[in-house]
Symmetry: C2
Subunit: 273 residues, 2 copies
């Protein structure tokens, strides 16, 4: 698996991807999931990929070659057209491979995050699906995740909003990644972090993060420590032996009363009411 996240903020875009790929736990290797398409002063586009690596690489190959002079990422008038070109590349690979994959019992599984800016337009971010269709990030839903997304979602849901500064958004993405790394072995270092400042129209901030990266090491240590500290500062629940609680008790043979709460004197949380 993999984990990639991207955020569209008022100040620009944040892209973060891991580099773990595996065909079963006995076939784990490294593949970078981020690709940058840049024409300084005119356009910057970033592609993150998850799913079947053969499909992802084919899509990237098609997009990079840009054989179709009239319709490529290098000539697209705006990001919407660029996203549709990415979707077309997915459909081209589907046309070529999907049938053979299905015969092999493998589903056509790929999912992409694509975003950036073309001169004259605002920054935009899209989530492109395996069918080649896509949705765009909005102020109400300003981030996309692909791959092993669930572990790292809660911190983003609590912190990210469009007016968040780029530095804080990058920090949030790294914490989200750290939570994922800690709970899922199918996601791994090194990471590619790209922070795009709106209207720069060139890549200004990129870093490849490995075990030696001091900032990420700080995040990993500090976040875990501080989480445990905050956890310790929150009161434990209190229980009150004098109160009754109803709980779903099963009694031998009483199938007819199944699921009916049974009144029984038990301690219950003092804070119930």
């Amino acid at each position: 698996m993999t984990y990639c996240v991207a955020m569209r903020l008022d100040a620009g875009l944040v892209f973060l991807s891991d580099s773990r790929t595996n065909a079963g736990v006995d076939a784990i290797s490294t593949a970078r999931k981020m690709t940058v398409f840049e024409e300084p002063g005119d356009r910057v586009m970033v592609l993150l990929t998850a799913g079947n690596l053969a499909i992802s690489q084919s899509v990237r190959q098609i997009l990079a070659e840009g054989r179709d002079e009239k319709r490529s990422l290098w000539t697209a008038r705006d990001m919407f057209e660029a996203a549709s070109i990415v979707g077309d590349a997915v459909r081209q690979v589907h046309k070529r491979d999907a049938h053979a994959l299905r015969d092999a019992g493998i589903e056509f599984n790929v999912s992409l995050i694509f975003g950036g800016q073309i001169r004259g337009e605002r920054v935009r971010l899209f989530n492109v699906y395996a069918a080649g269709n896509f949705v765009e990030a909005t102020p109400e839903n300003c981030y996309f995740q692909i791959g092993e997304a669930k572990y790292g979602k809660p911190i983003i849901d609590r912190v990210v909003h469009p007016s968040l500064p780029l530095g804080e958004a990058a920090k949030c993405a790294l914490i989200s990644m750290d939570s994922t790394l800690k709970s899922n072995i199918s996601v791994g270092l090194p990471l590619d972090l790209l922070v795009y400042e709106a209207d720069a129209l060139r890549v200004t901030r990129f870093v490849n993060i490995d075990e030696k990266n001091a900032y990420f090491r700080m995040i990993r240590d500090t976040w875990g420590q501080r989480l445990r500290q905050v956890f310790g500062e929150i009161n434990d629940p209190e229980w009150d032996a004098s109160r009754e609680a109803e709980f779903p008790l099963a009694r031998m043979g009483e199938a007819d009363r199944w699921g009916q709460p049974v009144r029984a004197k038990r301690e219950r949380s003092r804070t119930q009411d």
Copy 2:
């Protein structure tokens, strides 16, 4: 979906389950996932269920009826035998329903957490699968989750160990549930929380938690606030314009150089080394 978590600690057991069930977003209702089997002074067993509700309810029905006098949860000599009785109930339902479900294109999907204590034995906790087989919690792996488990896993991985006091474990389970509730609409209140103190051999601490529960409301408010506070206290990454960074740049038509990092002068994290 649903989310259930249970922990086996030196001091006893913690069980927490939600009560959201749905057959698609247009068919959402409430069903409690926790069932208690209790013979005060002799045994306490708790069952948490996730997956197909029809299967879960059939399994609970079979276990509660305990028709087989010679082999039921009420007569099991130890928790291992009790767990195998739960597994047998799953297999009985599979024998009855699996074929018809397959014909309807529905997989036989159920997953259970089962734990407790029988007099003369220590507290034990098991994860029972749809095939009726099961694994037991160990000191190295002292908790099980079923249903929408991923959102709430990172906090457990950072906090829970066998020597954690019951109160803190219950608090951790509720925070894990809160993260899940916040990020996944298929999990919902009310919650059933049961804390079993080792050797009590009766249910002493149970509470059904709804929106009005003051303690859970405090957890929800405090945890989110303090997370954002800790987040704000961690430094943002710094960038250094004078350093070079290599990043995966695609250049028009340069498919042969695909994926080769391109040296380009870019700001990079000052903390890279």
